[in-house]
């Protein structure tokens, strides 16, 4: 058997073992659609943003193969950083994230953003992930603007 034949065998084996019709599927994309916004916060007064808050919750939009399962995994900050390096604690509760196959904020399935979560893309290959959190400013929290970065990694499951 010559080299070309062996490569052909390898390609066939890959096609059998790999995801079905991977080459023809829509590529997986993740988009940060809306920032998580706490707005004005007063020292010593916790500020809670629900994942169902249409204006202030964070949102990611997903696109990929139709009906495909995906694994959602967040990288979450413990604090927001402000003026002169001041920090403000950020807490994510066990149901502070939600997944919606229909991309509607009103029809979410809640999950713990600190744990990987398996979701299924819609028949159109779409879905949205929403996230809320609690900011806990100290009573002597320094005034100013605070920010942090939340990252969502999405992995296609076979």
């Amino acid at each position: 058997m010559n080299l070309i034949c062996w490569l052909a065998v390898g390609a066939v084996l890959l096609d059998v073992a790999g995801p079905p019709s991977l080459g023809a599927q829509r590529p997986l994309t993740v988009t940060g659609a809306r920032d998580l916004t706490f707005g004005t916060v007063l020292p010593g007064v916790p500020r809670v943003i629900a994942r169902t808050d249409p204006a202030y919750s964070g949102q990611f939009d997903l696109k990929g193969p139709k009906d495909n399962q995906v694994l959602l995994a967040f990288t979450l900050p413990l604090v927001m950083t402000g003026p002169a390096g001041a920090q403000m604690p950020l807490v994510f509760g066990a149901s502070d994230a939600g997944y919606s196959q229909s991309e509607a904020i009103g029809s979410q399935i809640g999950f713990d953003p600190k744990q990987p979560f398996t979701a299924t893309l819609s028949k159109n290959g779409k879905g949205s992930v929403f996230i809320g959190a609690t900011a806990n400013p100290a009573t002597n929290q320094r005034a100013g603007a605070y920010t942090a970065t939340l990252t969502l990694t999405v992995t296609l499951l076979p």
Partner: protein, 166 residues
């Protein structure tokens, strides 16, 4: 030679598989933002002082009396809307005796001379105001005491409390 071809095929398989695995994952980031406001501090800077009062003769201290009117100094987030909440005593007390207060008036301004943004108002449980561009606000409180004709002599006191909230 046969083994070499097998190795090449497997190498191709592994290389293509690695490429496929990388394409199965993606990520994106959003930002969490918050703006912490400056806490409000309220200082009782000057007592409301009626001085000597005579039985049967009412005495008024106007809020524009910079020497005798009570004064609160407020500092907070520049330009913020706030609510002034007064708790005002109806009487002054002295060893079991009381002396009524029947009227209160107030002025708020952005400077100690009452020349910038001065507004007279009737103090109560909820008065709207706005902190200045530097976050300051000064509030003066005046009142009228109504001593009875047989008012017992003594030193009479009462507490005026101002709470300021965003």
């Amino acid at each position: 030679m046969r083994n070499s071809k097998l190795s090449l095929a497997l190498l191709a398989l592994v290389a293509v598989s690695a490429g496929a695995a990388q394409a199965q994952s993606n990520n994106a980031s959003i930002t969490a933002t918050a703006t912490v406001q400056t806490p409000i501090n309220v200082l009782g800077a000057q007592q409301l002082s009626f001085g000597n009062v005579f039985p049967g003769i009412n005495k008024t201290v106007g809020p524009n009396d910079l020497t005798n009117a009570g004064r609160f100094d407020v500092i907070g987030q520049a330009g913020s809307a706030v609510t002034l909440q007064f708790t005002l005593p109806a009487t002054l007390s002295s060893a079991g005796n009381t002396m009524p207060i029947d009227t209160y008036n107030a002025i708020r301004a952005e400077d100690l001379g009452q020349t910038v943004g001065a507004v007279m108002f009737s103090p109560g449980p909820s008065n709207a105001a706005t902190l200045s561009g530097t976050g300051g606000l000064f509030v003066w409180v005046g009142a009228r005491v109504v001593p009875a004709t047989n008012q017992a002599a003594g030193v009479y006191t009462g507490s005026v409390t101002l709470t300021v909230v965003y």
